[in-house]
């Protein structure tokens, strides 16, 4: 399966819905999408990972890169994920301390700090 990406705006947040597999082959597409959003002035991002089947360290690297970019504009990057196998990767790399992880898009969109 390939990677699918779609974006929508909810208030001042931009929700990026990601589906499929994020790995060394597909991660550059996600990176391009995040870079493009930031270049276009979207600094408050919510990445919805509920339809992600696979995530590896390359994908983590892209998310960290996205976080660095939005922070340079005093923005935010929040994740939506309930899948244990995806959450596990954030835990073993210590990234649960770096990303706010929410259980729903609604919760992430409403969150401030």
């Amino acid at each position: 399966m390939d990677l699918s990406l779609s974006t929508r705006t909810v208030g001042d947040r931009t929700v990026v819905e990601v589906g499929g597999e994020i790995d060394v082959y597909t991660a550059p597409k996600l990176r391009e999408q995040l870079v493009e959003l930031v270049n276009d002035g979207s600094f408050h991002l919510v990445v919805d990972m509920e339809s992600v089947d696979f995530l590896d360290s390359t994908g983590l690297g892209v998310l960290v890169g996205g976080l660095k970019r939005v922070r340079a504009h005093e923005g935010s990057l929040r994740l939506v994920c309930n899948q244990e196998r995806i959450l596990k990767i954030f835990r073993i790399t210590g990234l649960t301390k770096v990303f706010p992880i929410h259980t729903s898009v609604e919760e992430a969109v409403a969150a401030t700090d």
Partner: protein
Amino acid sequence: MATVELRFSALPEHVRTARLVAAAVARRAGVDEAVLDEVRLAVGEACTRAVGLHQAAGVPAPVRVSLIEEEKQFSIEVGDEAPRSAPGERAPGSPGEDPEAEGEDEMGLAVISGLVDDVEVTAGENGGSIRMTWPTTT
């Protein structure tokens, strides 16, 4: 010899194939269903690292994956032919210079060591390998 051996060109698009094959062979070997996700992730990380090392060093050789079924255990060995004096060293001007790719190699290894209890990483002037072993139930 290994139960199944796989050699693939050092390109990112083939890493997924390696994951699928490794998971299929691991399942047949009797690796617990609950652990298969970890096998898939760990072999993907090891192959991603090998592809990165080959590309950085301009090594045309394929990446090797050996899937080895043994008594009460299943091992995966991912071998690269990228020469280095120190593990993880990259050639200047390589994709490793990309600030966002920086540290991904180490992150991959961190994921592997977080997932797999039995890991052996070796590296030398002729390349390196990562060998990971899981117990089997059959």
